[in-house]
């Protein structure tokens, strides 16, 4: 052993260069595909660039940001983004915990159950958006039909047509689509908990509700917080679902939809980039919180 150790150590020191050689392609890809475009977007947000004129641009200072702050539509988009994130993430977490607890039990058919739960996640977002748009269709949709048949409502609900109901449908579909993912994250956390605590609780025959609130929930807290931040990061970027379900109605736009619309459809690269930059800094702020949480977990 004494003989081996120096050899390995020597190899490690000498190999620092080869470490970076192995990393080089990946780092180049990250810089070219993420770093540079990001830098350019921030740069464009201070200019009056358009899609067909990205070279001869004039520097306009913070004009784009100022007019963004004065734009009612932008604030509506910010509000929509927040509403969607603030409602859908806690809902997904609660439902995710329930599903995770079910999946954590070993029973006949738990393998099938796992596959079933994974299905909403496998369906491409656009497909699920169109699928739900069809189910929520105000005239022919099955959801309205079932609700009327069960005499919960009398008049069909205009799910995807009215502004408020559109937001509700977006949240509904988002929750349906991402709860499985949330459940899997929480299940992984649940399974890494020390099992002897649960056994002790079972021996003491502690009622399940008490066991959940006094034992599982406190132990799961770090996992739940990390998973919630992780999901919030995703939720504020929401684009696909809104694009399909709000059918171009700008009253339901989120920050991403607003930015893309100005960037591409209105041909205002500078203005759209400014909106995207604000979103970026907001996400970065959340991201810093997330990373500090997960690196604290890494140290433990």
């Amino acid at each position: 052993m004494k003989l081996i150790l120096p050899i390995i150590k020597k190899k490690k020191v000498g190999n620092n260069l080869s470490n970076w050689l192995f990393l080089a392609p990946c780092l180049i890809v990250l810089v070219v595909c993420a770093g540079w475009p990001l830098f350019r977007t921030i740069f464009f947000s201070f200019t009056d660039a358009t899609l067909d004129n990205l070279k001869e641009i004039t520097f306009v200072g913070t004009d784009n940001f100022v007019s963004l702050a004065r734009n009612q539509e932008w604030w509506k988009a910010v509000l929509n983004t927040f509403i969607i994130a603030i409602i859908s993430v806690p809902l997904e977490t609660c439902l995710g915990i329930i599903v995770a607890l079910v999946l954590n039990k070993s029973f006949k058919g738990c393998g099938i159950m796992r596959a079933v739960v994974l299905i909403p996640w496998t369906i491409p977002t656009i497909v699920s958006a169109r699928m739900w748009a069809w189910m929520l269709n105000d005239a022919y949709g099955i959801i309205n039909e079932l609700l009327i048949r069960a005499s919960i409502i009398d008049v069909p609900i205009p799910w995807t047509v009215s502004n408020t109901m559109s937001i509700v449908s977006i949240i509904l579909v988002d929750v349906w689509k991402t709860t499985p993912y949330m459940a899997l994250l929480l299940l992984a956390g649940l399974q890494s908990l020390p099992q002897d605590c649960f056994e002790a609780a079972d021996v003491d025959s502690i009622p399940p509700l008490k066991k959940f609130f006094k034992l599982i929930l406190p132990l799961m807290k770090p996992t739940i917080i990390v998973a919630m931040i992780f999901r919030t990061l995703d939720a504020v970027k929401i684009f696909d679902l809104v694009y399909i379900l709000s059918s171009g109605n700008s009253a339901n736009a989120t920050m991403s939809v607003f930015a893309r619309k100005h960037l591409v459809d209105y041909n205002e690269v500078g203005y759209g980039s400014a909106a995207a930059t604000v979103l970026l800094f907001f996400v970065a702020f959340l991201g810093v919180i997330y990373i500090s949480f997960s690196s604290r977990k890494m140290r433990d």
Binding site: L23, L54, F107, T122, P124, V127, G189
Partner: protein
């Protein structure tokens, strides 16, 4: 005593029934929308708007139409080729990068991992204009290579994390034995690690494939013609000839067609995919 036992038994059955009911509710919620999509796709055009939970008559009319449609065929081919190229490229790049990240201790290791994690959280719309400029400079607008380039940003950081996690789980003895035999780092990676990691590589590749297959924002922005569009974009833009036409049967048929193969793969690789998916977020 007997009374107590029967009460206990009663309580247990009640609990079991509650649990079963919960399972059924979850399963119905997960499955019903997709079931409804399949049912709608199998109905003939006059029957689409009926709300019967079971179809009275099944036709494959919609599927026939979809498979004879050139636009959809093009989109299917574009999506498949872009997703395969993206996942293979990302897997190769990350396989090499994950090796030192998982197996060596060097300054900057943690920083690289954290940068990758940071990139996964980037809003894609924030790289849109910069990426657009780059695609203009390379003159690849409306081409598949533009999409592959853009998809690297979604797949590489994520794949790197998952791959690093999988590589971390290989016992150290194997590597030490190889070092003792005088193997170089490259040999260790290609002759020792890659064979062991085969299932993990397939899984990460599959995850990258799914990410590329589902991507919408970049595909919508960087393609213009029907010949270059991918499946999500052509599905999103697909509408009837007039405003009053609802070709829902066709849309559902197309949706089911692009989802079923994916679903099959995910169910087959379920266990591995779950461990891959949760690697980045929770295990830290």
């Amino acid at each position: 005593m007997i009374l107590k036992v029967s009460k206990w038994k009663f309580k247990r059955t009640l609990k079991k029934m509650f649990f079963c009911a919960l399972c059924i509710v979850i399963a119905v919620c997960c499955l019903f929308p997709f079931y409804w999509a399949i049912i709608s796709s199998l109905r003939c055009s006059s029957d689409v708007f009926s709300a019967n939970l079971f179809p009275s008559r099944i036709t494959f009319e919609n599927y026939k139409y979809i498979f004879n449609d050139i636009t959809f065929g093009c989109a299917l081919w574009n999506s498949t080729s872009v997703a395969i190229i993206t996942s293979v490229l990302a897997s190769i790049v990350c396989l090499f990068a994950a090796y030192p990240l998982a197996r060596r201790k060097f300054t900057g290791r943690k920083r690289v991992l954290m940068t990758a994690l940071g990139v996964t959280t980037l809003p894609h719309v924030a790289v849109l204009s910069g990426m657009f400029e780059m695609i203009r400079i390379f003159d690849i607008y409306n081409e598949k290579s533009a999409l592959v380039l853009a998809y690297m940003i979604i797949t590489v950081p994520f794949t790197l994390w998952v791959m690093t996690n999988f590589m971390n789980s290989i016992p150290k003895d194997l590597e030490e034995a190889a070092i003792m035999d005088g193997a170089s780092q490259y040999t260790i990676l290609t002759k020792v690690f890659i064979p062991i990691l085969k299932p993990a590589i397939v899984t990460t590749g599959l995850l990258a494939f799914i990410a590329a297959w589902n991507e919408f924002l970049f595909a919508l922005t960087f393609t213009l013609t029907n010949q270059a569009r991918t499946v999500p974009v052509s599905l999103a833009l697909f509408s009837g000839a007039s405003q009053h036409e609802f070709p829902y049967g066709l849309i559902m048929a197309a949706g089911v067609t692009v989802t079923l193969p994916l679903m099959l793969l995910v169910v087959i690789f379920q266990r591995k995919i779950i461990s891959g998916l949760t690697a980045g977020a929770v295990k830290g």
